[in-house]
């Protein structure tokens, strides 16, 4: 009995002891489980908040240049601040943390935001190649970034035994205005109903024996069910991929081949459709960005340079050095016999012989305006970094706003990787350009300019090193390039969006809500009478680094008999290849990009 009594209660002791251990273990599990759960929630909250804050900033700023801390549009916080004191776009981001369950007014929760622009510390300038990156996302080049840290004290069951009643769970996310690559090295924008010299709907027309190679891919926005792309004879298209908008097909005749076989896109959920034109491979990569801005203050400071009969001589360019200025041709008015004063004729500036350099001390002062266009003959011409505005033609003289012959030796910049200068931008336009940015330049012309309209462009390379073309486009890796032009790097030739059979709005968006409809220029926003052709006669002596941009509704004619390889991206409405041209568009190190709000950490 006594033994019985001793045994009684032993189980109680053991169970009690075991209960401690079991409950402890259970507590540990609950602690970990709850911490995991809260951590996942906090990461979601931080991601959403950071992304929202940057999106709000980008929306408010409208352009890269507006994302500067000093601009007063976006809010910066060099050291993390609580959401309680956040304002502007940072407060907007904080709302997303709140909606995800992290209320910073609660004693157990903290939500902090930190933000800065491209050049203000704590943004770090480092890495090779040089980037301006947030401290938390190494080697990601940014223009504005926001880091959100979300933390919460979670109650502890297990650790509470040792006095730790709470544990800290936190997450961090960084979002930034960063570059996002545009897909494709040959980007063809015309759709089924856009008219051009070729058959409507057929936007890549290869009628000769031409071979086009695009290792970076081809995108075709036409959904023509028969022949969005058309190859015949011995012509070939060779690309890593060809994306054709849903429904579009290619037609191959004779021995023509197309590798890799084109695929239709835009049906897949992973490729965004036109519902977000800013992120569709079939919409102008510069959609909604407007046109590259000129520096109107610099234009106002330029001298007007009258060129008698349009012939550029050493009298105008001493020693062959042509300074920045507004160049325009003058002529004695026909029929004038006494006291005749030369008047602006609107004829092209001709460089038909000699050796000339357009020279400026740096990119920003390198502003050259040519009223009447530029025609280069058997001459050597060098273009230093800057903006070259080819501002319309007087069709009595020529239909080309920019023209070279196969006798020209044209240089400017370098096409070899890692040796690029700031670059140059040729703008093919009329006497006004976007929002009449050329008003200041027109005022430098002594006398009355005739009406100057859009012209075509013709780039012809010769067959030897003595008659070659080497031109390099805008390089955003150069610190000298103005922020406003970063979005337009690596463009070399920019054709005015109004010089097209398709209407663009002044902000660079498409003119008609139905993207598949033909949308002709209206007299209200275009000057009518477009001349949207770009003629490129390619030989192996045509060396271009950068992008040629033509709006939707314009087209490019490619002709040549020799191999032409280069780091080129071509954006155009439609392409016709003729002759035996063999064109290889290799990738540019700094391709056309869009600047978007994106999570980077």
């Amino acid at each position: 009995m006594g033994g019985n009594r001793r045994r009684r209660g032993q189980a109680l002791v053991m169970v009690t002891l075991a209960l401690f251990a079991m409950l402890g273990l259970m507590g540990l599990l609950v602690d970990f489980g709850w911490a995991f759960f809260v951590e996942k929630m906090s990461q979601n909250a931080a991601d959403a908040a950071a992304l929202a804050a940057v999106q709000a900033a980008l929306q408010a700023a409208g352009s890269l240049a507006g994302t500067s801390c000093s601009g007063g549009v976006v809010v910066c916080a060099p050291t993390p601040i609580s959401c309680a004191s956040a304002t502007g776009n940072l407060a907007a981001g904080c709302q997303y943390a709140l909606r995800n369950g992290f209320d910073w007014t609660q004693p157990d929760t903290t939500v902090t935001v930190q933000a800065s622009d491209r050049l203000t510390p704590p943004t770090v300038a480092g890495c090779n190649p040089l980037t301006y990156h947030p401290p938390t996302a190494p080697c990601v080049d940014t223009y504005y970034w926001v880091t959100v840290r979300v933390a919460r004290q979670v109650p502890q069951l297990f650790s509470a035994i040792r006095g730790n009643r709470t544990g800290l769970v936190s997450s961090r996310a960084t979002a930034a205005v960063a570059q996002s690559t545009t897909v494709g090295s040959l980007i063809i924008l015309n759709r089924d109903n856009d008219p051009w010299i070729g058959s409507t709907g057929t936007v890549l027309d290869n009628t000769g024996n031409a071979v086009v190679r695009a290792p970076g891919g081809i995108t075709i926005a036409s959904g023509d069910t028969v022949d969005a792309g058309h190859l015949q004879g011995n012509s070939h298209a060779i690309a890593a991929f060809t994306w054709i908008r849903a429904g579009g097909n290619v037609r191959l005749q004779g021995n023509a081949t197309w590798t890799a076989a084109p695929v239709n896109q835009n049906t897949s959920s992973s490729i965004p459709s036109d519902t977000n034109p800013y992120n569709s491979p079939f919409v102008d990569p510069f959609y909604g960005k407007g046109q590259p801005p000129l520096d109107t203050a610099e234009l106002g400071a330029l001298p007007g340079i009258a060129v008698p009969n349009g012939d550029l001589t050493t009298a105008i360019c001493p020693g062959g050095i042509c300074p920045p200025g507004v160049y325009y041709a003058t002529e004695i008015p026909r029929g004038c016999s006494v006291n005749c004063v030369p008047q602006p004729s609107g004829g092209p500036i001709k460089i038909w012989q000699g050796n000339f350099q357009f020279q400026a001390s740096n990119f920003n002062t390198g502003n050259f305006v040519f009223f009447g266009g530029l025609s280069i003959g058997q001459a050597q011409v060098h273009f230093s970094p800057g903006r070259y505005v080819l501002a319309g033609v007087n069709r009595t003289y020529t239909e080309y706003v920019f023209e070279t012959t196969n006798q020209s030796l044209i240089t400017g910049g370098s096409t070899a990787a890692g040796t690029h200068d700031t670059g140059r931008l040729f703008i093919l336009t009329d006497e006004q350009y976007a929002f009449d940015q050329l008003a200041a330049a027109r005022s430098k012309v002594a006398g009355q300019l005739p009406d100057l309209v859009f012209g075509k462009a013709k780039l012809i390379a010769g067959n030897s090193a003595q008659s070659s073309i080497t031109l390099q486009g805008l390089n955003r890796l150069s610190s000298e390039l103005p922020l406003a032009l970063h979005e337009f790097s690596p463009v070399l030739f920019w054709q005015d969006q109004r010089n097209s059979n398709y209407r663009y709005n002044s902000d660079g968006t498409y003119g008609c809500a139905d993207f598949n409809a033909a949308c002709p220029q209206s007299t209200a926003d275009g000057r009518g009478n477009p001349n949207p052709e770009f003629w490129m006669q390619a030989t192996q002596f045509l060396n271009i680094w950068g992008a040629t941009y033509q709006p939707r509704g314009a087209w490019m004619q490619l002709q040549g008999g020799n191999l032409q390889t280069g780091p080129i991206q071509v954006v155009t409405g439609a392409v016709r290849l003729q002759g035996g041209s063999d064109l290889t568009l290799t990738g540019v190190e700094t391709p056309i990009v869009d600047f978007v709000a994106s999570l980077v950490e």
Binding site: V140, D141, T590, P591, S598
Partner: protein
């Protein structure tokens, strides 16, 4: 007294019998509860680790390779991220770790036979994923806003199998827990 004694002896016998009858299933249930908890725990940890891995990859995509950015990652670096977030996950037991990109109808993948292999530089550890090598031209393995997936199987060794009748020789049974996570490339 006698009857009490008899009764007492009878109760002793009952307790032993009861313990035998109840104790074994009780132990089984107890161990099962522990094991199921452990499986769930391991599954959650492995899933969490893979999710962290894919999130890390999603912000190191194609744009990381476009100059001046140079933040491209390799399969090995993503594997390290998975290991870092997988407290208690044995790398050698995370099998067939697939790093998948591309369209659903034409997927491509790098596969580590197990995470340990890729952590130590073997297998496809040196491959750039999900973007191309830094300084590479515009097009890499995966495009912006395309989905990427990490899929793996976690090998569990469970003690429950010890109780399975007829399993000879007695050893811990193994089974595979599939874990997977998909995200769009953010950057």
């Amino acid at each position: 007294m006698r009857s009490q004694g008899r009764g007492s002896t009878g109760r002793r016998g009952n307790a032993f019998l009861e313990f035998t009858l109840v104790g074994i299933p009780l132990m089984f249930i107890l161990i099962s509860v522990f094991e199921v908890s452990r499986v769930l725990w391991q599954y959650n940890t492995a899933a969490h680790a893979v999710r962290e891995g894919v999130r890390f990859a999603a912000v190191h995509g194609n744009n990381c390779a476009v100059a001046p950015n140079s933040c491209s990652t390799t399969v090995g670096q993503v594997a390290q991220r998975i290991a870092f977030h997988g407290a208690g996950v044995v790398p050698a037991d995370l099998l067939n770790v697939q790093f998948i990109w591309g369209e659903a109808d034409q997927p491509a993948a790098f596969t580590c036979p197990d995470l340990q292999t890729c952590l130590t530089g073997g297998g496809p550890a040196g491959q750039w994923w999900p973007g191309p090598a830094p300084g590479g031209t515009s097009i890499g393995g995966a495009f912006f806003r395309m989905p990427i997936t990490i899929r793996a199987q976690y090998r569990m060794r469970s003690a429950i199998a010890l109780f399975w009748p007829g399993s000879r020789p007695v050893r811990a049974g193994t089974f595979l827990l599939p874990v997977s996570s998909t995200e769009m490339i953010h950057f």
